[in-house]
Amino acid sequence: MQKMPAWAEVVLVPLISLILAALISAIVILAIGENPWTALKLMVDGALGSTYGWGYTLYYATNFVFTGLAVAVAYHARLFNIGGEGQAALGGLGVALVCLYIPWPHWSLALIGATAGAAIAGAAWAAIPAFLQAKRGSHIVITTIMFNFIAAAFLNYLLVGPLKPTGSMDPATAGFPQTTFLPTFQDMFSFGETVLFRGTPANVTFFVAVAACVLVWLIIWRTRLGYEIRAFGHSQPAARYAGIGPTWIIMITMLMSGGLAGLMAINNVMGEAERLILNSVEGAGFIGIAVALMGRSHPFGVLLAAILFGFLYQGGAELAFWTTIPRELIVVIQALVILFTGALDNMVRMPLEAIFGRLSRPPKPDRRSAQSEPSA
């Protein structure tokens, strides 16, 4: 079957999936007696219609960029890292230790230190499943998801016990010192009397996330290591025959993946909460899977998909504030988008491929799979 043109692959498939998800969501909203058009307007206005909305949308998006990149990088070596949740939680621990126990003179230095702490902690958490996969063949899907639970229990222990200040009820660390507070968009972009991004948590980490996208793109498509990772992903025996060591590739890919997931913590732990709380990741590790799927494991796609999910989160919050739509239904709407863009991808793709195949010249017997990446 003829391959679709690149624009259809990158734009048309996600767009149609989104429209389908929106239609079903509209039916759901209608069924509970609310007006879907008002709801949509409220979501768009609330998430994209003001700097306030963008401040939240981009904050959530920053989280999802990191976890999305984590899944994407691993996926290039056909490793399915669904341990982003645990790796990001451990990243939070790394950030908390760095911020609490090192007296930083300035936030910029603290940011560098926290970035290192988050990446190292996240990577270390991914290293164990990676080692088990590389040396013992324990399936990475099973081990990473189990490590999520171990991470949650470990953080529970630390936050209820050693890291909690005496007398505090909250299972959380003490607040970080003032010098580690990252500048928010409000600090950066407000001028004179005009306060933009008022009170929103979006912070300088967003630019770290964009930089991470560029870095991942460079590594995957512009370095020898990236080539080896992709070669390994396409065919393990061929890669081995070409002299690429599987142990090395699995380890290095998972370390990068875990490190990226861990980096999320500089946004939510250091940038927003300014202390480490229980369950700080709040499912962003799993959203990362949907983001990577929708972004076709390409950093630019991941960035766009992350912003979309940021929109859904912030728009969902606005729905909760100003309508009587219960929060459970907002989760349903978010889930529908994940379902259509992630799980039901082929439902849209296959008919589209058929249409494009018929539109172009009579198909040549081309056996290339539809799974190849978009050209970078």
């Binding site: 003001s50 529970n156 007398g167 909250d170 009170g199 927003e272 229980l278 504030f321 907002i330």
Partner: protein, 331 residues
């Protein structure tokens, strides 16, 4: 600049449409959701009572994530809702940050103290209420062993347990208090199965009255106690009706009253720290037709004596949170 204008314009429009609801109160429910059969539900009940009595309306939101705490406070304050009420100590940090930005809005926080001129902090003397049910438990127990089942192991719950144990020991110095916590994570607030197991374990240790201060977990404690035909004590709201004749009483923590009072007073609600104790009806024991048969006259007299003692200071109930220790029991 036109893009900027559009953005600002959009914010202004939104603010105006939302401003229609001027000076209505707003309630923020915590992550547990407003029907958690415990704390949040109690504040919902208070808000609902206000709405029914006055015909007023209030805005509400159930939080979905921690990042939304400050967002919800700011959104409601910006839209002109006043007072903005939130239950739960988890909102403390967010309110400390946001409250100074909205000097014209009054905020009410329950179970935490936020030291800002426009914040009313409502705290409860849970140890005093627990002391009262401890007195009743000691008198109702035939084996001389009573149980305490806490939810998540945090200082607040130890405060319940400590006051309870002191009430028991003051009434019957030979009594034994068995205390267990359901867990160390927020999941411990909603684990009735574990609550049931702990009740079984305490029964096998001889307990014949158990006090559950464990949110949704308490439902399992009360159920098992009823199944095994021992007495139980409910918490927060009046849970006597759950198993008539088998729930000795409930330690009332009138979160609903705190919310109701704040809504009644409106934007002019008095700020500062508001302590709800035995004296002003913030905590107490629940007596109704479901437990009349269980409460003897001596019990009633002892409780009233204890209330009088707490009020005039002759009985000093130890507050676990004042020094993180408890003379009556070790956890």
């Amino acid at each position: 600049m036109t893009f900027m204008k559009t953005l600002l314009g959009a914010t202004a429009t939104l603010a105006m449409t939302a401003g229609a609801a001027l000076a209505d109160p707003a309630v923020i429910f915590d992550l547990g959701g407003k029907f958690d059969k415990s704390f949040n539900e109690s504040s919902f009940t208070g808000a609902q009572r206000w709405a029914e009595e006055t015909g007023g309306t209030f805005a509400e939101v159930e939080l979905q994530s921690d990042a939304q705490r400050e967002q919800a406070i700011r959104r409601f304050a910006e839209a002109g809702y006043n007072p903005v009420i939130m239950a739960g100590f988890s909102n403390q940090t967010a309110l400390e940050t946001a409250a100074p930005d909205y000097p014209d809005t009054t905020f009410v926080i329950i179970d935490a103290v936020v030291d800002q001129p426009n914040v009313r902090s409502v705290v409860f003397d849970e140890h005093e209420g627990s002391y009262l049910v401890g007195v009743m438990a000691a008198m109702a127990s035939e084996t001389g062993t009573v149980g305490f089942i806490g939810g998540m192991d945090i200082p607040l719950i130890r405060k319940f347990g400590c006051g309870y144990a002191q009430g028991v020991m003051d009434t019957n110095p030979d009594a034994t208090v068995v205390a267990n916590m359901t867990g160390t994570t927020p999941a411990a607030w909603n684990d009735p199965v574990r609550g049931s197991e702990l009740t079984q374990a305490q029964i096998s240790q001889g307990a014949d009255v158990v006090f559950a201060a464990a949110g949704g977990t308490g439902v399992g404690v009360l159920q098992t106690a009823a199944d095994e035909e021992i007495l139980s004590i409910g918490v927060d709201s009046n849970q006597n009706y759950l198993h008539p004749g088998l729930v000795l009483t409930s330690m009332l923590k009138r979160v609903d009253n705190a919310v109701y009072d704040a809504m009644m007073a409106g934007p002019e609600v008095e700020t500062g720290v508001n302590v709800m104790g035995v004296a002003n009806g913030g905590v107490g024991v629940a007596i109704d037709e479901n437990n009349e048969s269980l409460v003897t006259d001596e019990m009633m007299a002892a409780v009233e004596e204890a209330i009088a003692g707490i009020e005039d200071g002759s009985i000093e109930v130890h507050d676990y949170m004042s020094d993180e220790s408890c003379p009556a029991i070790s956890f």
